[in-house]
Every structure is written in structure tokens, then in C-alpha cells.
Assembly symmetry: C3
Homo-oligomer: 339 residues x 3
Amino acid sequence: MIHTAGEVAEHLSAKILGDGHAPISGVANPESANAEDLIYADSPRQVERAAASAARCVLAIRGADLSGKTVLEVENPKLAFAKAAAWLLPRPPLRPEIHPTAIVAATARLAPNIRVGPYVVIEDEVEIGTGTAVDAFCFVGRDARLGENCWLHPRVTLYAGARLADRVEVHSGAVIGGDGFGYVFGDERHIKFPQIGSVEIGNDVEIGCNTTIDRGSLDATQIGTGVKIDNLVQVAHNVRIGRNTVVAAQVGISGSCTVGSQVLIGGQVGIAPHCTLEDDAIIGAQAGIPSNKTIRRGQTVWGTPARPFARFKEQYGWLSRLPELAERVRKLEEEKAVE
Amino acid sequence: MIHTAGEVAEHLSAKILGDGHAPISGVANPESANAEDLIYADSPRQVERAAASAARCVLAIRGADLSGKTVLEVENPKLAFAKAAAWLLPRPPLRPEIHPTAIVAATARLAPNIRVGPYVVIEDEVEIGTGTAVDAFCFVGRDARLGENCWLHPRVTLYAGARLADRVEVHSGAVIGGDGFGYVFGDERHIKFPQIGSVEIGNDVEIGCNTTIDRGSLDATQIGTGVKIDNLVQVAHNVRIGRNTVVAAQVGISGSCTVGSQVLIGGQVGIAPHCTLEDDAIIGAQAGIPSNKTIRRGQTVWGTPARPFARFKEQYGWLSRLPELAERVRKLEEEKAVE
Amino acid sequence: MIHTAGEVAEHLSAKILGDGHAPISGVANPESANAEDLIYADSPRQVERAAASAARCVLAIRGADLSGKTVLEVENPKLAFAKAAAWLLPRPPLRPEIHPTAIVAATARLAPNIRVGPYVVIEDEVEIGTGTAVDAFCFVGRDARLGENCWLHPRVTLYAGARLADRVEVHSGAVIGGDGFGYVFGDERHIKFPQIGSVEIGNDVEIGCNTTIDRGSLDATQIGTGVKIDNLVQVAHNVRIGRNTVVAAQVGISGSCTVGSQVLIGGQVGIAPHCTLEDDAIIGAQAGIPSNKTIRRGQTVWGTPARPFARFKEQYGWLSRLPELAERVRKLEEEKAVE
């Protein structure tokens, strides 16, 4: 469907300079855009790229030098671009269907307006809310609950009892509600600590491909509203994550950690058991946080073991100059010997 | 099913103080327990939590101050709790069934008392022992063997020829027997080194969600009895792991490593090719072990490259104080200049 | 099928010493070989192992002391072994079949000579070239394209629009074309940046088990010809990887990185967004490359943050001797105090 620059401006409450009738049919990067693609520019470098682009319409801050283009003036062009894209290219409307090959237990309670794809298995007592899509090869275990407008991409596993609130999107290969990893050693073998808790995923959560989120051992693993989790992440038993926290790929969060709201966790970070990350903390990529540690509100940490970024930078700066420092010590000793 | 405190005490050979007729129907944490849940206390802090709990029955060491509760005295309350949980909440008995949608090759040899779930594919010459459950969407490749009382959760892949002994539990998304990663560069391209060995998993092994265990290149990858492997772990070709070793999430064990018995490998550890980890070694989370390295029996190592824990602590302590040490050197130089 | 030493020598253009009629039916390691297995020896230690082996035929360099064996003289025994194995044990010929349980959209265009396994789902407008095998439980999303002689092992997901060229092999559990991980924060929530680009995989690429390769956000994620990717690797949106690059297990490559040709990336390496790795770079296992960094052509780097190997070695050598260096400084101070 084709919109006009004027319609997009209205949707974004943007001021428009130029041709409000210019058609907009998609979004793109400046270099690959055609005339009808919307692009954005939020830096001088981006403004240059936009100026050279075939695109006729640009989202930019006030005063950007883009003569010849239709400019939609906004405060945050990248944010406006994301919103415009969501509006221009909405998810296709769900076509309700229970595919004939889906195996749905008689005791499952499915809202009328859902899509269940081919070769889906839905076990007893499952509940699925309206507008939700469950794609091919998904397994929804006994007593699991999905709220409204969720989307399980193909090949997702929900173990028994997993709970997803509304608008949760789970990508292919993710596993939610697997057993936590806990044993007690006795009688010459590892005896499994009970892993019978639940897992509760809040509204508007997105979970990446092949990510694993374990059930709680006795209580619940909890993922808060608006949390975004990338691919191949491990979230262990009893972890609680607050609102809008972002977890990059391949992060591992060990058992019983508490992560606050709006925390940013970089790629491949490892968090040992029983840590607390307070709100707005920022954990640099590959950092390692030792057991029982607390990262304070708003603190940025790096390295293994993780320390405040300024300290990390200073210490690693000196590590780089260690050979030189050692040489200076050698010289002092030499002079001493000469005295 | 509801048991009594007396029955649980008898099962655990525990001494009981208080009401042997108190009903016990489940297990819980002190805070979420109701009166009929069994809880445990193995530290002063836990005894406090237990004292404040609604639970009537507590597993504790002798002498714990828990008046008003029914106390089951044991030496190791957490171990006893795990055993009690396994007894109170046993895995539901397997209901034998070959689901009509399962595709089972005519040459497969299935013991009578097994469960094969919906949309399972079992190829030629597969053998499955009695009491084993193969859940939805599992793929069991040609000539694979599963022993007795195994449990493949939904969506597990066994490549051709994989061998699982008895009581092996494999969680959703795990892949066992994929090709090892080995190439020889020649004629301007990577030519695959043969990856035709097998993979052999011992008794009582548990393998986490989305974990990958490759087949051997020419010989076998071997996982010993009682080994426990968490989620998203990579075990490469020709690795051999001894009895009761524990491997935390996201660990990577490279080709041809030999890992002993009762080794503990922390989360996100990386082990380069051809390493040897002797029995009872402990590898701290995120440690990196360089190629061909041996970690001695019982040694605890940390860091990358991994070194004995005491050395790691001392060196990283000095790394933290490097800015201060550099300042002391500067002062010595200054005084020298003044002389 | 059984070949003779002479036939193998001819296939490899190797000079043969000994019995050209010796039968060869397989390949093995020296210790597990039987008389008819071909083995190789490319070091004095390997020659010893070969001499003691039951195998009659050995691939070795000229002059190896292997009297009593039939020796096939080659320059690179390991390479010749890989080639011989591929020739002796070819992939079984594909038996064309569309399994009756496969669900294939009417608009999909399938070449005649392909195999589509049980419980495969192929959506609208998909194209599949001749000689390609799509095993059980694979999901091939709308408009995806597979070239000739590809092999999707069981349980692979291709999101809509993914493009695979010829002879691409994808192992079980891999997910290609999932949404990139990009959001813009506004109105108190994370708004998804459009993830509508494609993913393009070149010829002769192999992708490991449970690896995830995201689609581009606006343009394409591109994997070059001959690239080999191990298990549990994360390749983010807009990444471009050149020809013949090798990526070991559990590596994470963040958004918009450019990786050259013949790069070697060790296990668990993390590469932050917008990095450039030039051709022939070597990245040591577990290294971390900070955002926007360039690794120069042919450079070998280690550590986090990654630095040239020689510097890494020197700095970490001094880190090991830091306690001793600190002691030397203390002594200098003491002597100063005495003066």
C-alpha cells in the first residue's frame, strides 16, 4: 500500500517541508533506496548520504541541509523512522486457522481468532488468547498459557506450565521452561534438585532464536514487560528481569539473579549465580560478574571480574604499559646498584 | 498423593521430632510454602526463613531451633530435600503408545513398553529400549540406539548412529551427533576432514536445551556415566568426558579434549583443542584454557589464560592496584631526579 | 565398495610404494584401523603410530620409514586423507522423493530431482534447485530460495526470503533469517527498528548445529563462498563475511561487522558492532573486539580488548610477574627510606 509524505508526517506529527504528495511505499538505507522509499538522517554523515540518495523523502532534524528533498522534521529521526516503518509495513493481518495437521488436546482452550500452523502440538489444559499465532512445529506443553496477540515462530518449545502474557514474540528454536540446572551430590551421584517452578513472561517481550529460558526450581523465573532478548541467550532458573531490560546475544544469566529495569547487558556477558543488577546498569560486552555481586543503579561495568568502566580503562591502560613500567623499575634498580 | 512426615522420615532414614502424622503433599521454598509443603534449612539464615514459614515440616540438621515445627533431622538437608522431592513427586508413569502420526521405519527395533509422541521420525535400524519416551518432533537417525528409560523431550535430533545408554534425559532442541568441525585447506578451498565417528552417551546423563554434541571425526565422542550438561553447551568431536562431570551453560569444549571425572566446569568456559582436565579439577566461569594444556587433578583455575585460582587472585589484585603502583614508581623516579 | 591402493593413488596422483592391489574400504585412525582402512601420517609421531597400526596402507610424505606398509607418497598427507575419504565414502546418492507428509505450497517451484523429507513445510513462492535435500521438520519460509545440491539436515528453519546458493549444508537446529536485534527507545518502550532485509548464503557454505544467522535490517546479511561456521554461532544483522572464512563454535558477530576472506575466528570470540576484520586476520579464541575497531590484514590478535598477539603475550607475561614487580618496587622504596 502506498502512502504520501503528508500522511506519514501526520502519523508522526512531523512538520513537512516540500512535496506532501510524494508517494512513500517503503523504508530503506540511503544507498539502496528508490525514489519512493523513506530514509532517515540523524548525523552530518547521514545527511550527506541522504542528500546523495535516490529517495525523495527524508526524516531529519530541523535545519538539515537537504534541498531538493521532501523533509519530515522530527526530533529523533531514527525513532521516527522505526515508527514510520511499523506503520508503513504492518505485520500482515492474522488469518485465523487451525491447520488440519495440528494436534490440539480436547481440553485446550483456544480463543476463536488465532492461527495454529501445520504440525503444531498443543497439549492438555493449554490456553491461547485471541490474535495469537503459533507457527509450524511449535510444541505447547500441558497447561501453558499464551495471552493475546502473541507470535510463536516455527519450532518453538514451551514446556508444561509456561506463561506468556500479551504480545510476546518468540523466535524459532527458542525453548521456554526447560528444567533448571541444579543437583545435589550424594551417594556417589548427582541427585536432581527439584525443578518444578514456572516461567512467566510479561507483555511485549521478544525472545531471540535458539534462546533458552529455564523454569524456576521451586518458584518462578520472571521476565518483565518490554524485555528484549537476543539469540542464543541462557536465562537460568529463578532469574527475575525487570521492565524494558535489553539482553544481547549469547549472554548467560545464572540461577537466582535479579536484574532490574532498563538494564543493558552486552553480548556474551556472563553473570554468576545470585547477582543483583540494579536499574539502568550497563554491562559491557563479555563482562563477567562474580557470584553474589551487586551492580549499583546506573553503573557501567566492564571486564572479568567486572569493575566500573573508568577503573577498567585505567587498569587496562596500565596493563598495556606494563612492559614499559617494568623497564622503568629495572632502571631504578640499576641506578641504585651503581650508587 | 499425600504422604505423612513419618513416611518421608522413613524414606530418608531421618529422625523425626514432632508430629509424624503431619501431611506432606509437595516441596517448596519457605516463603511460598503452604502448611503441607516440605521445606529445608541448612544454614542459620535458612533456619530463620523456615521458622517464619507456613510449612509444618522442615528438613534440618540436628539442633536447629525450630520449635513448633515437625523437624526431620538429617545430615545434609538439601540432599535429603532433593531425595524427598524425587520420592514425593515422581515422574508420572510412562503410558506406552506409538502415536499414529509417528513415522517409524520397518527395520527399527522398539521395545514394547515405550512412548513415541506425535510427529516423531525414527529411521532404519534404530533400537529403543523399554521404558523410553521420545516426545514430539524428535528425529532419531538411522542406526541410533537408545537404552532403557531414556527421555527425549520434544524436538531433539539424534544424527545417525548416536548411542545413548540407560536413563539418559535430553532436553528440547539438543542435537547429538552432528558433524565435527574439521577441514583441511587445499586447492583454494576447505576440504572436509572425515566426520564419520560416533557419539556415545553413558547412563544417567542429562543434556540441556539447545546443547550440541558432535560425533567423533574417526573415533567416538564419549560422555561418561552421570555427566550433567546444561543448556547451549558445545562439545566438539572426539571429546571424552569422565564420570559425574558437571558442565554449566554455554561452555565450549573443543576437539579432542579429555575431561576427567567429577570435574566442574563453570559457565561460558572455553577449552581449546587437545586439553586434558584431570579428575576433580574446577574451572571457574568464563575461564579460557589454551590448546594442549593440562589442568592437574583437583586444581582450581580461573581466567584467560587459565591459571591457579590463588595466582589469579594475586595477579588481578595487583592489576587493580596498578595505577597506584605506577604512581609509586613515578615518585621514586622523581626523588631520584632531585638527588 | 572396496577400492585398491592403486586406485586411491591414482585418484590422488600419489606415487605408490608397495602392493597396489591392497584393498581399501575405509579410513581410520592408526589405533582403530583394520587392515583395509587407509590411514595417514604427517609427523614423526604419526609415522610411529602408523607403523604400529593394523592398517596396510598409509598416506605419508616421501621418505617416511614405513617398511612393510603400502605407502602412498603425497606432499600433504592430511589433505590427501580428506580427499581420499570423500572419494572412498561419498555421500549416498540422493533418492528423489517428496514425502507424502510434506506440506508444499502450490506456488513453490521445486526442481524434479530433490528430496523433501517427512513433516517438512515449504511455503509459497519457495524455489529449490536440483539435487537438494530438505530433511524432516525443516521449515522453508515464503519466497526462500535454495540452489542446487544443498542439504538441510532435520529441523532447520529458513525464515521468509532467505537465499542459499549451491552446495550449502545446514545442520540441525540452525535458524537462518531471524529478525535482527535492533530497537529505538521512545515513549517509554523499545520500538523495533525495521528488520526487513534479506540473508544471502554463498556456494559451499557449511553452517553448524543451532547456529543463528539474522536477516539484515534494511539490506542483506551476506555469507561468502566457502565459509565454514561451527555450532551455536551468532551472526547478527547486516554482517558481511568474505570467502573461505572459518568461524569456530559459539562466536558472536555483532551487527554491521565486515569480515574479510580467509579470516580465522577462534571459539567464543565476541565482535562488537561495526568492526572490520581484514583478509587473513586471525582472532584468538575468546578474544573481544570493541566497537568500530579494524583488525588489519593478516594480523593475529588475542585477548579482550583484542591486541596483537606479541603484545598480548608480553603484557600477560608481565601480569603474571606483577606480584614480583610490586615486591621490587617495595624494596626500592625501603632502601630509599633507609638512606
